[in-house]
Symmetry: C2
Subunit: 428 residues, 2 copies
C-alpha cells in the first residue's frame, strides 16, 4: 500500500518548543533529499516527552515510507530517541558492538576515557543498522518500524550534514529517487515579481522542463533553475541565457556569490584596486570587501570618517564645504572620494555620507538620505538617494548599492541601474 508521504521528519527537543532554538536541521535534510528528487511531506516537532514522542512516531510510521528522527541521540537523560524507537518497534535495547567501537575510537582521538554516559550512546534497539557519524560521538541508526524505515540523526548541525550523503542513499534505495539539476544564480537590485513579469512576457522562448524558483534575502535575491533530467541540461542553459538577456546586469554570480566577491573578480580581471571612504556605513563596505578571501589582491586601505573633523583631517575634505553644504552633500562625498583615491592609490573608489538614523534627520535631509560618489579620478559621479527602513537595513542596502555601483562601472554595465530609480531623491 502506498503511504501518504515519502519522507516524514520527527524533530525532537524542548529547545525547539520553547522558541529558544530555530530549527534549521529540517531545512538541511529537505534540501539534501530534494537534490535526489525525494520530497519531505510532513514534519512533527515535539519536546522530550515520551508519550508525545511515541504517539508521533507511530503516526508518522503509518503515513510515511521513511521517517527521519532528528535529535535526542546524545549522552544525557533527555536523549530519548533510542528508547523511543525500541519501544515503538517492540525491540529490546542492547549494546551495539560497532557503536562501542566507534565510541572507543572517538574517545581515543581526543585522549578521553570512555565513560558510562558515553556508553549509553551504544545502547540501541536490537537489529538496528548503524549510520556512520564521521564527526561526533553519537551514531545514527536505521531500523524497520511498523512498515516504515526509521533513520535517527544527531541534532548537531555539522554532524547531521556529514551524515546526509549516506542518509540520502538509504532513503533513495527505499523510495526510489533520482537527480535534479539545480543552478543557482545570485542577483541584486531587482525583485521577484519584476523578474517573473519579464519571463512571463517571453513564455514562448522559455525552454521546456525548466523550473524557475526564487529565494529572497537581504540584499540579494537567489534564482534557481531546475531540470529533472540530464537530457534537459541544454534547456537549463537556454533558460539561463534568456535570463542574461532579460536581467543580465543584475546577475552577480553563481551559487552563494556575494556582491563583494563579484566586484573582486571584476577588479582582478582588469588588475584594478578599490578603496572606500565611509561615513554612514561606518566600515561595512570595507568589511564586506575583506570578508572575501583574496581581497588583499584588490584592496589596500579604507577610511571610516564618521565625524566632520575626520573627513577634513583624514581625507582633506575642505572645511568650507562641510560648513556650507553639510556633511551629507555632493561636494563633500566628491571630496571624500578624491581624498580616498589619493591616499590609497586605488584605481576606483566609493564614498558615502548619509543619515542612518534613528536620529539626525531634518526636513531638508530626512533619515535615509544618502549622498554617494563613485568612480576613478577621471570618471566619477555622485547621486542622492533616499533609502527607507531601519538603521540596520539602511546600512546593509547602502553598502550593497555602493558595491554594485562600482561593479557596474568596472564591468562597463549601465551605470545607473533600474532599481536606483526607487531610491532616487526627488526635490519636492
Amino acid at each position: 500500500m502506498s503511504k501518504q508521504v515519502q519522507v516524514a521528519l520527527l524533530l525532537t527537543g524542548n529547545e525547539l518548543m520553547s522558541g529558544d532554538t530555530v530549527d534549521s536541521n529540517s531545512s538541511r535534510i529537505a534540501l539534501a533529499l530534494g537534490a535526489h528528487k525525494i520530497g519531505v511531506g510532513k514534519k512533527i516537532t515535539v519536546g522530550d516527552d515520551p508519550t508525545l514522542l511515541s504517539d508521533s512516531l507511530m503516526d508518522l510510521c503509518a503515513s510515511a515510507d521513511v521517517v527521519i528522527i532528528n535529535g535526542g541521540l546524545g549522552p544525557t537523560e533527555d536523549d530519548l530517541t533510542a528508547e523511543l524507537v525500541a519501544e515503538v518497534a517492540g525491540q529490546a535495547l542492547a549494546n551495539h558492538p560497532s557503536a562501542i567501537e566507534h565510541l572507543k575510537a572517538w574517545c581515543e582521538r581526543r585522549g578521553l576515557e570512555l565513560n558510562a554516559s558515553n556508553l549509553k550512546q551504544a545502547l540501541l534497539p536490537e537489529g538496528a543498522d548503524l549510520v556512520a557519524n564521521p564527526i561526533g560521538s553519537a551514531v545514527g541508526f536505521a531500523l524497520e518500524v511498523n512498515g516504515a524505515l526509521v533513520i535517527t540523526t544527531p541534532g548537531v548541525p555539522v554532524e547531521l550534514t556529514a551524515m546526509l550523503p549516506e542518509i540520502c542513499d538509504r532513503v533513495a534505495s527505499r523510495v526510489g529517487g533520482g537527480t535534479v539539476f539545480i543552478r543557482r544564480l545570485q542577483t541584486f537590485g531587482i525583485g521577484e515579481s519584476t523578474i517573473q513579469e519579464l519571463v512571463n512576457a517571453r513564455t514562448d522562448d522559455w525552454p521546456n522542463g525548466v523550473t524557475l524558483g526564487f529565494r529572497s534575502g537581504l540584499p540579494q535575491l537567489e534564482l534557481k533553475l531546475q531540470v529533472d533530467d540530464a537530457s534537459l541540461l541544454d534547456n537549463r542553459d537556454e533558460a539561463e541565457n534568456l535570463l542574461h538577456e532579460l536581467i543580465g546586469d543584475h546577475i552577480i554570480g553563481y551559487d552563494d556569490e556575494q556582491l563583494a566577491m563579484s566586484l573582486q573578480r571584476a577588479l582582478l580581471d582588469r588588475q584594478m584596486s578599490v578603496t572606500a571612504a565611509e561615513s554612514c556605513t561606518g566600515g561595512l563596505i570595507a568589511s564586506l570587501i575583506t570578508r572575501e578571501a583574496g581581497s588583499s589582491q584588490v584592496f589596500g586601505s579604507g577610511f571610516v570618517t564618521y565625524s566632520n573633523t575626520a573627513k577634513s583631517s583624514v581625507l582633506s575634505v575642505p572645511e568650507a564645504s562641510l560648513a556650507q553644504y553639510g556633511a551629507v552633500s555632493e561636494p563633500v562625498v566628491l571630496a571624500m572620494l578624491a581624498g580616498a583615491l589619493e591616499k590609497s592609490g586605488a584605481d576606483i573608489g566609493i564614498a558615502v555620507s548619509g543619515i542612518a538614523g534613528p536620529g539626525g534627520g531634518s526636513d531638508d535631509k530626512p533619515v535615509g538620505t544618502v549622498w554617494m560618489a563613485w568612480g576613478t579620478t577621471a570618471h566619477h559621479r555622485a547621486i542622492r538617494l533616499q533609502v527607507p527602513g531601519s538603521r540596520e537595513r539602511f546600512q546593509i542596502l547602502v553598502a550593497a548599492i555602493g558595491l554594485d555601483i562600482m561593479r557596474r562601472q568596472v564591468l562597463e554595465l549601465p551605470p545607473i541601474p533600474h532599481y536606483i530609480q526607487r531610491f532616487i531623491h526627488r526635490a519636492s
Copy 2:
C-alpha cells in the same frame, strides 16, 4: 476532558517543506506564549496539500486546546487556510463585513483599488471572529473547531509579530496562563559549562524558584533568569547578584545588548572616544561600533590598513618594522595603534593585524595568528593570539575580543580575561 497539549501549531507552506525557508515564526509564537506561561506542545508542518492539511488540523484539534495555524492567508490560489478551517469546522465560507472594511481601509491607505484577489481574503468561515492585523491586508480569525479554539495567523513575520499580543490574550483566556518574569543577560568570553560549574559549586547560595537558561550565539552567550511568580522577583535579583559575583566581568548587558553598545555606554560615561586600526578584520570593528545608534558620540574615525603600504602611508608604521618583523608583529600593531590614536585624536584604540586565512599562513605564523594592541597613548599593551576556525569565525572572534578588551580597559576590569588563555599563543 483535558487535552494532550495546551497549544499546538500547524505551519503551512511548500517553502517550509522544500527547505528553502527556515521556519522562525513558530519560535516567535512560542516565545510570546512562553512569557504568559503557556507552552506549545506539538507542531505539525505540511505543504499546501488539502488532504494533509485537513488530516493534520483534525489531528491537532483532537489533541490540543488551541491550534494556531500560520501561513496560507494571502490572496493567491495556494493560500488555503480559510477553506481548510471551513471544511474541517463544517462551515460555509462567507464574506466577512469587518474583513472587507479592513481591506478597503488597507487599500485606501496605499492608493490601491480593492480587486478580486484581495477580496478573497475576506472570504472566511461563518462564525469566524476577526483577529486584527495592524499591518498587512490579511486578517486572522478565531473559530471553534471540534472542541479546539483555532486561530489563524499570517506568514509574514512583521504582521505575525504585530498580532501576537491579541493572540496571547485569546489563548490565555482559553487555557489560563500567567506571567513569567525573564531577565536576559548577555555575556562574552565564557562558556555554558563553565558557568554551570561555577553555579553548581554555589548551590547553597542559589535562590529558590529561579531557573537559569542559556542560549548560545557567536560571539555572545545569553543567560536567562526566570521566575514564575512576582513574589520571586527578589530571588531573581539575588541570582543575578550571584552571577555578578561569579562572572561579573563577562556580563556585558541586558536583553540584546552587543559588545559594541556596552563599550559605547562605558565610553559615554567617561566622555571618552575610540578608534580602530584594522588589518585582518578589515573594517569589521568600526562597522560593529557604528552599527549602534549614538556611535557618533564616541567614534570619529577608523582606519582599514590592509596592505603594508597603507600601514605606512596612512598610519605612519615604520617601513623598517614591517620589513624586519612582518605585518603580523608586536612592533607593527603598536605602531598602528599609535598612528590611529594620533590621526583620530581618540582617547583609546585597538589595532589588529593577523592571518585570517585560508591562505597566507607560515610555519612561524600559521593561519589564525593575530597580534592585537590596545589602550591609550599612556597605557597600552599588545598580545599575540591564535584564533582557530574559518575566516568568517576568525574575523568575528577577533573583532569581539578587540571590543571586549577595550571595554575592560575603560571599565577598569581585569585586563586579560580568563578566556584569552584559550587563545594565547605559546611558543613551542
